[in-house]
Symmetry: C3
Subunit: 222 residues, 3 copies
């Protein structure tokens, strides 16, 4: 009852092939994907945690961190086909909830805020992608299909199908539909400073035209 | 003389319970907190370093990095009740100085700049909190009670009781008094781009009113 | 034929002394520099990869990641005198190309975008420096001598001898000549928000003067 069913394992292996073009063979995936190792060990530790067995789940999580560089608290709820690529330095907190088909890269923190012991870590909807070194803090909700850009910091709720960039993170794209392939191109970022510059420059140019018109008028009447 | 005194150890263990709501028992803390392991091993290596014993301190630091994912140069001076939570990927440089009750998360760099061999790493005052994946570079001084937001990059001095956010980091809050609990909520960030936008929009609206007034005048006199 | 030549090894060791002021002796460098261990093991795995030996190169890379916290895909092409300082959490992708004398710190990602299997990782020119926790994504080209600031995210080409800062990264400095020593001071950053603020404030002050002039005129004629 505590171990991974063959169906779960197959789903977790399939997700590697679906999302990493460098994957070559099942043997390679089983031997060389620390994200898969961490996930298998976590699914086991999580069952012990739910059965309220003390200490052992934390020890498994600690051992997993040593072997894989990925730290998942045994309390975290993780959906089907979760894929952590590379994963070194990732931390997933106790009250985190992760939907199905979520992809996460290395250095990602799904962390808590405050000192209370209730729900204090993020909830990620289905198909979310979290880029390398991104940090999501607190009991925020990341809507299904959203992509958190590499190096971004998110501390507020994010609507579904959005793209987040920056420190702190801003929603830079949001649309109802998106093809699956696009959702993995976590490299296409947007520049919020350039955007602010363009907006203010345009407003100022408009105002300047009005002032120039007044000056022309003044010269004419003089 | 080289080993940790029971009092030091007690302070270091207490700091885990004070600052991590997920901590359950002393046994769990002793077995599963890599930040505590790294700190105990560092306190030992630092004494050997001060006694000018060659190579061994560096080897202990290197072994600690392998076991915990946390790299503390044996030369770093660290105060009482230092707490590194998770800690994977953190690097603390040779001439770093850390005050009492400092809290640090995973992926944090307290790094050096330049190639000279004198003081080249940061100094952190008491009660400082450094968020996940934050980077502090050079011989800068972080004032007591300040909080460095997750993912931020700091390369200048920071006054006491300030909050820093962004790449590069900006002081976004500064006040004389703060309750202890608040200082751990490293999730409440401030948006410097939104703030700049609001300020400039307000100025421009004021200017626009003056132009509109002039235009009205012109129409009246025409 | 598969092993490192003494000349290659000497170049790799020399680069540690040239770039880390904390390095004391050859023994210390050989024993305590995980970046050097990762590089030596990678140079071996890369030769097996070029000889089209299956699985083994990936296993070496996976073992190297476990030992050093640094993950270099065996396919990555790396030039002479590459130096990874600290390195925990760094990931270098399969189709990455790195020139000579490149320096990289911990938490750096040279990552891929998309799901196609051709060239999908960055190319770094000679003498490039990549700061801690920086992320470079996609088949972009980083020009020779450029410096990527700590915590920055780069998803576009970068010209030679430039300095990049921010999430997303912006070119903040660019000049033809630079002394070697300067290139290591990765702590001197530039603030793009402050710069935008200064530019817009100046423009607005100019416009305000013109409006004030018109208002004075109006009062005179009234």
């Amino acid at each position: 009852m505590f171990f991974l069913s063959p169906f779960e394992l197959k789903g977790d292996i399939d997700s590697v092939f679906e999302r990493d073009p460098a994957a070559r063979s099942i043997l390679e995936v089983l031997l060389c994907y620390p994200g898969l190792h961490a996930l298998i060990l976590h699914r086991f530790a999580h069952r012990l945690y739910l059965a309220r067995i003390p200490l052992i789940p934390r020890l498994i999580s600690h051992g997993t961190r040593f072997i894989t560089g990925i730290e998942i608290h045994p309390g975290a709820k993780i959906g089907k086909k979760f894929f952590i690529d590379h994963g070194m330095g990732s931390v997933i907190g106790e009250t985190t909830e992760i939907g199905d088909n979520v992809t996460m890269y290395q250095g990602v923190t799904l962390g808590g805020t405050g000192k209370h012991s209730g729900k204090r870590h993020p909830t990620l909807g289905d198909n979310v992608v979290v880029g390398a070194n991104a940090t999501i803090l607190g009991p925020v909700h990341i809507g299904a299909g959203s992509r958190i850009g590499a190096g971004s910091v998110v501390v507020r709720d994010v609507p579904h199908d959005s793209t987040i960039v920056g420190v702190p993170g801003r929603v830079v794209r949001h649309k109802g539909e998106k093809t699956y392939d696009v959702s993995l191109e976590h490299g296409k970022l947007f520049d919020p400073i350039e955007s602010l510059n363009a907006k203010l420059e345009q407003k100022m140019a408009h105002l300047e035209n009005r002032v120039a018109e007044l000056e022309k008028e003044k010269r004419r009447s003089a």
